[in-house]
């Protein structure tokens, strides 16, 4: 934010400069500093007119509203018979004069002013995590291009693996269109949000995030499916998919938010986590509701991979059916729990 500093010091030769006695800060509605004026030569006149030392652009402020003066070693402001008067801090009573201490707040018209002494101790600096964030890699064109290529390659490969027809390049390209359109629309929405909140589109970056997210979701889902087959844990696969996709969705949301909101990372993390956990909860709820409903067919997800991926020993037919004994009790529970 650019702040214009109005003060007499700029007109004076450097040698005659008085020492700065403190700063007058003009605050905006959110409490952020809109102007900061060093206080050097007294008296300082404050008002809306252009002949003031500090000009306030507020229609409720009088042309000459306040005067600040040194009284002994203190600074005092007094009301110059303004229309709307002078108020101290959050008090509701109009006052003719206020003795300033560091941090004293004043209200004139609709404007908030704050006095700070030079000796004011500022808070320790925040550690800038964003400078170290791997997300900044997304700003490098080469890396973005690599991500796009990888995504297109993966899409083409998985389409190819899902087909049982001889390879047809024309169809392979045609099948890329819907997912690519999806990514573009998704990124477009985020870019629009970025433009609104940070005045930058960041469209290519949002595309990169969407591609990376899609890649990660797709790859982990394939890996989980192979793991489920390898160790015969098909029944756990669904839960694992939900948990992993929650984690990845949260990460993707966080990355999108980082490039479209100036809010601090901690708040973005919280937002992304809440959204992802909410989505995860809904997915879990849905599977539970499905399970308790009556189904005419068995509801059991099964994976099937080439036999080389079986990493757990086989049972004999006898062992398998002995182990199936447990089903008997489960069916009893299933048919008794319902009216």
């Amino acid at each position: 934010m650019e702040s214009v500093i109005y003060g007499r010091e700029s007109d004076e030769p450097a040698g005659e400069r008085a020492e700065i006695a403190g700063f007058l800060e003009v605050l905006d509605r959110a409490g952020h500093i809109a102007q900061r004026v060093p206080l050097r030569n007294f008296p300082v006149r404050i008002g809306r007119a252009y002949d003031n030392d500090v000009i306030l652009d507020d229609p409720y402020v009088s042309p000459a509203h306040l005067r600040m003066n040194r009284v002994g070693d203190r600074l005092v402001v007094e009301d110059l018979d303004s229309v709307n008067g002078l108020y101290r801090d959050r008090e509701r009573r109009r006052v003719p004069r206020v003795e300033l201490a560091s941090g004293t707040e004043l209200r004139v018209g609709h404007t908030r002013l704050r006095f700070r002494e030079r000796s004011f101790t500022v808070t320790p600096p925040l550690v800038d995590l964003s400078a170290r964030s791997p997300l900044l890699l997304l700003e490098k064109p080469l890396i973005l291009a690599l991500i796009y290529l990888l995504t297109l390659g993966w899409l083409a490969l998985s389409n190819f693996l899902d087909s049982v027809e001889p390879l047809d390049p024309k169809r392979l390209v045609a099948e890329l269109v819907p997912p690519v359109l999806g990514i573009l629309v998704w990124s477009g929405i985020w870019a629009f949000a970025s433009r609104l909140l940070t005045h930058r589109l960041n469209f290519l970056i949002h595309c990169g995030i969407a591609c990376l997210g899609g890649l990660a979701l797709s790859l982990t889902s394939v890996c989980l499916s192979y793991l489920a087959f390898a160790f015969n844990i098909d029944s756990l696969e669904e839960l694992a998919q939900i948990l992993v996709s929650t984690l990845l969705t949260g990460t993707v949301l966080y990355a999108h938010l980082r490039f479209c909101s100036p809010a601090p990372p901690r708040r973005l993390t919280a937002t992304a986590s809440i959204l992802a956990v909410l989505a995860c909860g809904l997915m879990l709820l849905e599977t539970q509701v499905d399970r308790s409903d009556f189904s005419a067919t068995p509801d059991y997800p099964t994976t099937l991979k080439p036999p080389a991926f079986q990493w757990t020993p086989s049972k004999s037919v006898g062992e398998f059916f002995t182990q199936a004994e447990a089903l008997r009790d489960q069916t009893e529970a299933m048919s008794e729990s319902e009216p």
Partner: protein, 418 residues
């Protein structure tokens, strides 16, 4: 497919008439029509008809014979329904349930008092081609007589039936089919359309009439049904398991073939020009089942084999395709939510005689018939990266012992024939 003759089922009229000596049909109808009743299952509260069928007087103590499927709702919900007979002349009264033969789809009911006349039931086997007369009340249109011919017993059926060539229609279920002397030869039960009709042989009616039955209100028919179903499945599965499975060969795989003559089998080879795999298909199924309710049948055995051979697909693409195919949802058996619970499944890798497979076994229990289960088995039998045998088996209404024993024998029968 065979269709039950409940009123409200499909309309299957045929315009075929068997020539009969002049006046004979009129005589048969006139002599015996007063032994046939319409049977109505009425809602206790509203008194409106829930289903209708036919029945006939079969004894001096007011015994009435009909199909089990006509009175099934009364059996399952005795508090909600009651049964009533209605003669063609308008005379009506209450019926109480006396006994059931659920396997052969028969029910024995009783009306108050002793009727002056009733039909005799004959164990005599008619000659093929002999003229028979079927009586009943099709679609609630009034008492009807249908002429037809006896065409022997069904050979490929698990549940013995007479093949009757004549148009029996919904609503005639439970009505008698008689010879020219008025002796009951069979009970109308089902049709496959176009004059292809089926009767329950009279021998089962005689057994039902003469066997001792638990009389009175207290008789628990659900337990009776369960015992009959258990005995029936034990009998036919025991027979199947007593001898080594008949096998057939699919490439190098030996798989269970037509295990008994009551099973209907068919097969096919599919090879589409634009796909890089071949599918050989074999399937067997019992052609008949036991009616339990409109949504649930029992006493079914069904299995199929699919041999997939890759033609240059590569292992990842081939198994990607096979995985989409390998879904237990395919093993559909008709289900009545009131009768069965949900399936529970177990999956594992199984090795048998050098063949490795991934097996999914699912089980669901009947709610009212304790000790009865539906079982499904699905297995993917591996042979390298270029071939896979997928086999599916479904059994409806079996004991737990058989639900495990039969799939086990089935799985063990699958072998590699180098």
């Amino acid at each position: 497919m065979i269709q039950w003759l409940l009123a409200g089922g499909g309309l299957l009229f045929a315009a075929f008439v068997v020539a009969a000596p002049a006046g004979e049909t009129e005589r048969v109808f006139a002599n015996y029509e007063n032994n046939v009743v319409q049977i109505r299952i009425l809602d206790q509260e509203s008194g409106s008809k829930s289903s209708i069928g036919s029945g006939f007087l079969a004894g001096s103590q007011g015994q009435v014979i009909t199909n089990f499927h006509v009175v099934a709702e009364l059996v399952h919900h005795p508090d909600q329904y009651r049964a009533e007979f209605l003669f063609e002349n308008g005379e009506s009264g209450a019926l109480s349930l006396l006994d059931i033969d659920v396997v052969h789809d028969l029910a024995l009911l009783k009306m108050a008092g002793s009727p002056a006349h009733y039909l005799t039931v004959s164990a005599r086997q008619p000659a093929k081609g002999e003229r028979l007369f079927s009586l009943g009340n099709p679609h609630d249109l009034g008492l009807t007589i249908v002429e037809g011919t006896y065409n022997g017993h069904l050979e490929k059926s698990l549940y013995e039936k007479i093949h009757f060539t004549g148009s029996i229609n919904p609503g005639m279920s439970g009505g008698p089919t008689i010879d020219r002397d008025g002796a009951v030869v069979g009970v109308n039960v089902a049709t496959a359309g176009n004059q292809l009709s089926f009767l329950v042989p009279a021998s089962y009616v005689i057994r039902l009439l003469t066997q001792p039955h638990a009389e009175g209100e207290a008789a628990d028919f659900e337990d009776l049904i369960r015992d009959q179903l258990l005995a029936n499945q034990q009998q036919y599965l025991e027979k199947l398991l007593a001898q080594p499975f008949a096998t057939l060969t699919m490439d190098h795989f030996k798989v269970p073939g037509r295990l008994a003559n009551f099973l209907n089998c068919w097969g096919d080879t599919q090879k589409r020009e634009d796909t890089l795999y071949e599918r050989v298909f074999q399937s067997c199924s019992s052609s008949d089942d036991i009616f339990l309710s409109d949504e649930q049948s029992s006493g079914i055995i069904r299995y199929s084999h699919e041999l997939y051979t890759s033609e240059g697909l590569g292992a990842l693409r081939f198994f990607g395709f096979l995985e989409r195919n390998f879904q237990v949802e395919r093993l559909r058996l008709r289900s009545d939510e009131d009768m069965v619970g949900n399936y529970v499944c177990d999956a594992d890798f199984v090795e048998n005689k050098g063949l490795r497979s991934k097996v999914v076994f699912c089980l669901r229990a009947y709610k009212n018939f304790t000790g009865l289960y539906d079982a499904t088995l699905m297995a993917a039998v591996f042979h390298g990266d270029g071939q896979l045998l997928q086999t599916n088996l479904a059994l409806a209404g079996v004991s737990y012992e058989n639900a495990v024993r039969f799939p086990r024998a089935y799985l063990e029968a699958i072998q590699w024939n180098p």
